[in-house]
Symmetry: none
Subunit: 311 residues, 2 copies
């Protein structure tokens, strides 16, 4: 499939600026300073951007949103173009421990933003946090407490269901983008991942998926509230090295029985994560499942123990 680039490049810089939200000055600065994008030129030197260039800009925007430095974006683009994979984003093994008031302040602002349905304020706080702290930390000390705090609050105020939905939409998009990005980079064994029947909330599943992916495995997401029969079929068809299920709620006895049966049937190990691992740990282990603890390190360890290490 051959394209004549010259004939595709039609958009002047102003249009591109409007389409992408990037100031023309900035676009030129990126090109001059980092060689980013480099569109066609007319005989007189005016820039003509193609659809492909615009797509590149959106990719840049995605990377920036994940906290990448603009000066390093070019390499990342090239790496992901040449197919083979880079180590994703800089994760500083930070030495930050307490400083809890920072987080409670962020938390407070995010709660306020949610009750005003103000996505921009939500984003502002989140991206402020993400620009200071590594992603994992923000997830663990901000997003998870936020979800927890609001869940508690909503139980007392049932009419605030809309706010819960709003926040979940935001988090789903946010975590989903991160998962998607990391997913394309990962290359280890394939793990199926789904929420058990009755679990309708997606965000904790996405968090678990992120942990799995950043442990070096590939994750195939099958979403929330997934029937066990589907998982059984999918394991075979997808040639999965393992199955990870998620449950926050208490599992009924019947489901536990079905899970035991499933883990005996399947040729691959079955892991379980989520809050149910606290209260029902032994029951789950008796059913032949491998319990994933809430912390990332423990999750990684458990996966590595039961599976060949991915790298």
């Amino acid at each position: 499939m051959i394209h004549d680039d010259a004939t595709e490049a039609v958009f002047p810089i102003r249009v591109v600026a409007e389409k992408t939200g990037i100031n023309p000055v900035t676009l030129r600065a990126w090109e001059r300073r980092y060689g980013l994008v480099r569109p066609q030129r007319t005989a007189k030197g005016h820039r003509l951007y193609s659809e492909h260039d615009i797509h590149t800009i959106t990719r840049i925007l995605e990377l920036l949103q994940q906290g990448a430095a603009i000066s390093r974006v070019k390499d990342m683009l090239e790496e992901s173009d040449t197919g083979h994979a880079p180590g994703a984003l800089p994760h500083e093994p930070g030495t930050e421990g307490a400083r809890t008031e920072v987080w409670t302040e962020h938390l407070r602002r995010m709660v306020t933003a949610v009750s005003a349905f103000d996505e921009r304020a939500l984003e502002a706080t989140y991206s402020e946090a993400i620009s200071v702290y590594p992603v994992d930390l923000v997830t663990r000390l901000l997003l998870e407490p936020l979800l927890h705090e609001l869940t508690v609050r909503w139980e007392a105020l049932p009419h605030a269901e809309a706010e819960r939905r709003f926040l979940q939409g935001y988090l789903r998009n946010k975590l989903g983008a991160r998962f998607h990005y990391q997913s394309l980079q990962s290359s280890g064994a394939r793990l199926l991942l789904a929420g058990l029947p009755g679990e309708h909330v997606e965000t904790p599943i996405l968090m678990l998926a992120l942990a799995v992916v950043s442990a070096g495995y590939r994750a195939i997401l099958l979403g929330a509230d997934c029937p066990l029969e589907v998982l059984e079929h999918a394991c075979a068809r997808a040639d999965a090295a393992g199955l990870v299920v998620h449950a926050d709620l208490l599992l009924p006895q019947q489901l536990l029985g079905q899970l035991r049966q499933l883990s005996e049937t399947l040729p691959c190990p079955v892991f379980v994560g989520g809050n149910c691992t606290g209260s029902q740990r032994t029951a789950l282990q008796d059913a032949g499942l491998i319990v994933l603890d809430a912390d990332a390190a423990g999750t990684l360890q458990a996966l590595r123990n039961a599976l060949p290490a991915p790298d």
Copy 2:
């Protein structure tokens, strides 16, 4: 189908100017400077435009509308005429026919990728398409047909539920990221957006949300399967200028009644999108709802009619 151009070429330049809204001076400048349009001439050199010429001008106008530079438009027209090579932007059904095999090929590859649970292959195809064609076109000619094709297929093969979930996860992340990004840019009136009770699929809602946002409004997403009471509360609390609900399935009579009541209660207009607008259009209109057609242009028009234009 060959026409005798001479018999069709009858419109003097002034008439064409009136029909198209383009100043005669400008029409001549386009012809002189870029070789655009070139109508027949009388023996003494007066321009005589044919119906086809006028159609060409319409196409030019569409391209300009999408931001193409006038100096580049000629190449694009020629490209899409020679059928080969992607005319980047043209949205007209007339010239799409010749290029459908591009889309069926992409479609085929995506179907294959889904049944192999291969996110990277999925991404590769999608990203190739998106780098050549504008987002809207890819959504309309690739993603929507893909969803439709696989839905049909899954009805015949119920065991492939896992594949459906896999694809929906992918699309949700993809569309969600786009929505999130656009959302932060948008600044118009706020519209609440949700799937009606019984509608569990998120992707069509996200597509509708993207249309709303690119029409210049802000969208507050409340997710799929949303109870009407939640919407009623949320409209007040979020100070929304409108409510958009989505439904692909047929709406039961009871829900129609509740919708009528809702639209009478709320101070803002209520819009409805999705496949149900085809079969239940009049019933929905009787209930006081404003129907959003499937195409983006119609959606935009309907929103603008009922709300103050955002920009």
